[in-house]
């Protein structure tokens, strides 16, 4: 099985018109925009970030880590430059020498924030690779996400992201994939003879799926259901909190993120889940696993695992039994940035691939230095950024080509779609496979 090509093409069309569905932000004065941006900076800077802002030596090495720079050689895509509004604000208003800097520097302006929109939204996937190269140990990407939030609050978020973010905030759905659509998709599975347990009152494992799974990556949804049944655990999908994606996070809207996180936490607590498994969705994992507790205000009363992590552990525990894939083949594994570099899941997906008996060919930049697919951070929805994204995708494509692997295994719907789009644009013939699908298709009887 592969992703639903018909829905995928429809989806591409939806993306193309996404921006037109929202009205541009108007009526904000420049002062108000700056004030809002500053409010974000003020509330989000913390000691470690301050240290990073103080330590930069402008060596420019981070440019080399960034796929947008690496492919275009345009200096404005240098990661640390994307932090400039924050740095300027910090030095003038929060840093220890702020009284001195105020004498010799200028304040940020609405114009600057507008200008930075392209830098933080179109040419940054928040992949965190720049944070890995910095000789000073500066977490550059963490700061770019703060600038994103500031630019968003100032009213300069790209229209496509605003549309999705708005939908998730107001309706709790993404791309129109609501509870009814989910129920319909699951009903279809039942009709095909697959047992699905939804909305259980009590469950040990609560599974989140990416909204894409309802329409486009249905193969992954089906595989997930099959695998969970195979494991024989008490699991459920909740129609009141099934959405894994957090457009609030990648768009930089704190309120939206807080709401979507809270919805998941409430559902998990109400069904007494011990483990919440996030589907193949990068942001979904990070938002809950590493950021969820902060939004919740205290440690989460359950464990959060990405599906690759969960399955890898089930494999080691002997509950997941897979057979070797029928045809011996070579694959390369693409670590989704938010699950790998930012999330810390590396071993489990590899253990799964090993159990499946495929030949894993690692890319030249493996695990935490892995090149991003170029679509993260909502860039894959951003029409204006399409040419840039395609350029950045080239870093990934050549890394894959270099391995000589017959197919690419990914474990993130967003990556998967970026690969599909990039592959089509580049006229590149290579199967893009979902890890979950691969496991689901090769369960031992």
């Amino acid at each position: 099985m592969s992703l639903n090509q018909e829905s995928f093409q429809e989806f591409r069309e939806v993306i193309r018109q996404l921006g037109e569905t929202v009205q541009p932000v108007e009526g904000l004065t420049d002062n108000e925009r700056v004030r809002r941006a500053k409010q974000v900076f003020l509330t989000r800077v913390h000691s470690a970030m301050a240290m990073d802002l103080e330590t930069c030596i402008h060596c420019g090495m981070c440019a080399e880590a960034c796929h947008f720079y690496a492919q275009t050689k345009n200096p404005k895509y240098t990661p640390i430059l994307k932090v400039e509004p924050l740095r300027q604000y910090y030095r003038r208003e929060l840093g220890p020498h702020r009284w001195l800097f105020k004498l010799v520097s200028r304040d940020i302006t609405a114009k600057m924030l507008e200008e930075w929109q392209e830098l933080v939204y179109d040419s940054c996937t928040e992949c965190g690779r720049c944070s890995m190269i910095c000789p000073m140990g500066i977490n550059v990407s963490a700061m770019i996400s703060v600038v994103r939030q500031a630019v968003a609050e100032a009213g300069y978020m790209p229209a496509e992201l605003r549309a999705v973010e708005k939908e998730q905030n107001e309706k709790g759905t993404t791309f129109g994939a609501g509870p009814n659509e989910l129920k319909a998709a699951l009903q279809k599975m039942r009709e095909d003879g697959v047992d699905v347990s939804i909305d259980k009152d009590k469950a040990d494992v609560m599974v989140l799926i990416s909204g894409f799974g309802i329409n486009i990556t249905q193969d992954a949804l089906l595989a997930t259901v099959k695998i969970m049944n195979h494991l024989g655990v008490n699991w459920t999908i909740r129609t009141d909190a099934y959405e894994c994606a957090h457009f609030g996070m990648l768009s930089g809207r704190e309120q939206t993120l807080r709401n979507s996180t809270q919805r998941v936490i409430n559902a998990a607590i109400s069904c007494g889940a011990k483990t919440v498994v996030t589907g193949e969705c990068g942001y979904g994992y990070t938002a809950l696993r590493w950021e969820g507790a902060r939004r919740y205000g205290k440690p989460l009363p359950f464990t959060v695992m990405s599906i690759s992590e969960f399955l890898g552990q089930q494999l080691q525990a002997g509950r997941l039994r897979v057979r070797k894939v029928p045809q011996q083949k070579s694959v390369t594994f693409h670590d989704p940035c938010k699950v790998g570099r930012i999330g810390g899941v590396f071993e489990e997906p590899r253990a799964l691939l090993n159990a499946l008996g495929v030949e894993l060919r690692e890319m030249a930049d493996p695990v935490q230095t892995n090149w991003c697919c170029g679509g993260g951070g909502g860039v894959f929805l951003n029409n204006r950024a399409a040419p840039l994204r395609q350029a950045a995708f080239e870093s990934k494509r050549s890394a894959v080509v270099e391995t000589g692997a017959e197919s690419v295994v990914v474990s993130c719907d967003s990556c998967r779609m970026t690969f599909e789009i990039g592959k089509a644009n580049a006229h590149w013939e290579i199967p893009i496979e979902s890890l979950v699908v691969l496991v689901g298709e090769n369960l031992a009887d």
Partner: protein, 217 residues
Amino acid sequence: MSLLDFARGPGLHWAFIIFVFGICWRFVGTLLIARRIKLSTPRRTDNWLMGLKAIETRSWPVEEFHRVIRFQHYSGYIWHISFFIVLFFFQPHILFFKSILGISWPGLPNDVILVVGAIAVATLVALLGRRLSHPVLRKISNVDDYISWLVTTLPLITGFMAFAHVGGRYETLLALHILSVELLMVWFPFGKLIHAVLVVPSRFQIGASFGRRGVRA
């Protein structure tokens, strides 16, 4: 009071005071900004170790990065090492440190210092050339970068002049050399040179925070 007397006396005294004061101010002022409380369950609990490890690992970029930053990496090393050799192993400098710290150590022959000093200056010039010509560096550079370059280069240049007695009377050159070092010390806490101090906590932090997520940073 002659220029040299000023440089060696009150100039040095105040430069040290500003140096120490500025560093403490900036360091403590950065460190004491509210910390972020981490409520998520760590994947690993040996954050301290990961932090310490990052201090070392960030000195040696992994192979995949090393390929693209080879020049910056080696020029950085050459510059820092040659600078520290000149700073700490030129015999008159050792006398200077002895007068402050009370301890001394063996120095290097002047010929060696001259060569190493020349390498340091050459590297600085090359790095400035790169900063002025490389699109990325030109784009991200600000006044701080150029001032910091200047105040770092001046002591080397004036040091050479004082050593070779070129360009003026020795006491004037020596005074200029000491004054240029004082300028460096006064600028140090306020510009990017502070990285010499902050690099340690900064690297530690990234190692620790990625470390708790199970990522070797």
